[in-house]
C-alpha cells in the first residue's frame, strides 16, 4: 500500500509571496489532516477534512491560509501572503473512517520564509 505523498519536499520563499503544498492520501482514506510543525514542537492541526468537507479548521489562520480537497482525494494547502513565522514543516496525514483507525503521515514539506 502506497503511503501519503506530499510535494514539494522543500520550499524557500520571500515573505509576502504565496506558496502551495499538495497532498495525496492513502487510497481509501476518507479523512485528511494538515498539520504545522514548528521546529522543536509537536504537530499542530490546521484543518481536518472528511471526504471533501471541512470538519475542523478552528486553528487555520484564515486571513492567509486556505485549503481545499476537491473530489475527496487530493488536497492543497495555500499560504498567501507568507510571513516569517510560517517557516515550519507542513505535514499531511490521512485516516480511514473506522472508529479504531489511526492516521498515517506523509514526509512533510519544509517551508522557509526569508
Amino acid at each position: 500500500e502506497a503511503g501519503v505523498a506530499q510535494s514539494p519536499r522543500y520550499k524557500i520563499i520571500e515573505k509576502r509571496q504565496s506558496v502551495a503544498f499538495w497532498c495525496n492520501p492513502i487510497s481509501g482514506h476518507a479523512t485528511l489532516y494538515w498539520y504545522q510543525q514548528i521546529l522543536g514542537q509537536g504537530p499542530k492541526l490546521l484543518i481536518q477534512f472528511q471526504n471533501n468537507g471541512v470538519v475542523d479548521d478552528s486553528q487555520l489562520p484564515k486571513d492567509r491560509f486556505s485549503a481545499e480537497r476537491l473530489k475527496g482525494v487530493d488536497s492543497t494547502l495555500k499560504i498567501q501572503p507568507a510571513k516569517l513565522e510560517d517557516s515550519a514543516v507542513y505535514l499531511c496525514a490521512s485516516r480511514r473512517t473506522g472508529s479504531t483507525d489511526t492516521q498515517y503521515f506523509g514526509p512533510g514539506t519544509r517551508l522557509t520564509v526569508l
Binding site: 479523512t31 522543536g40 492541526l45 481536518q48 475542523d56 492516521q103 512533510g108
Partner: protein, 110 residues
C-alpha cells in the same frame, strides 16, 4: 493548560538501556493513544496504538496507558542507536481530532 504535556528532553542513554518516555493529559474524553517516532527531516511514523488501559507490547516496545491517572508511557528495551529520534505521544478524541505532545528527543549512544 495544554491538552498533552510531554517532557522535551533531550534524553541521552547508552546502548542497551531501558528507556521510559511519558506524557500526561488533561481531558478524560481521550480514548485512543498513540506513539509516533520521528527521525530528523522525516514525517512521524506510527509506532504503537492502543485504546484501552494496560500494556501493549510489540517487540522491544511497550505502550502503557493509565486512564485513571491520565498518564501514558512508552518503554523501549535494549535500546539501539537506530532508536535515536524524537518520540511524539498523540491522543485522539471522539471527533477524530488528534492532539500531540511536544516530543521527546532521544539519543542512544553506541
Amino acid at each position: 493548560q495544554k491538552e498533552v504535556e510531554q517532557d522535551p528532553g533531550p534524553l541521552s542513554v547508552p546502548e542497551g538501556a531501558i528507556v521510559s518516555l511519558n506524557c500526561t493529559y488533561s481531558n478524560s474524553a481521550f480514548q485512543y493513544f498513540m506513539w509516533y517516532r520521528q527521525y530528523s527531516r522525516k514525517g512521524p511514523e506510527l509506532l504503537m496504538y492502543t485504546y484501552s488501559s494496560g500494556n501493549k507490547e510489540d517487540g522491544r516496545f511497550t505502550a502503557q496507558v493509565d486512564k485513571s491517572s491520565k498518564y501514558i508511557s512508552l518503554f523501549i528495551r535494549d535500546s539501539q542507536p537506530s532508536d535515536s529520534a524524537t518520540y511524539l505521544c498523540a491522543l485522539r478524541d471522539n471527533f477524530n481530532k488528534f492532539y500531540f505532545g511536544s516530543g521527546t528527543k532521544l539519543n542512544v549512544k553506541p
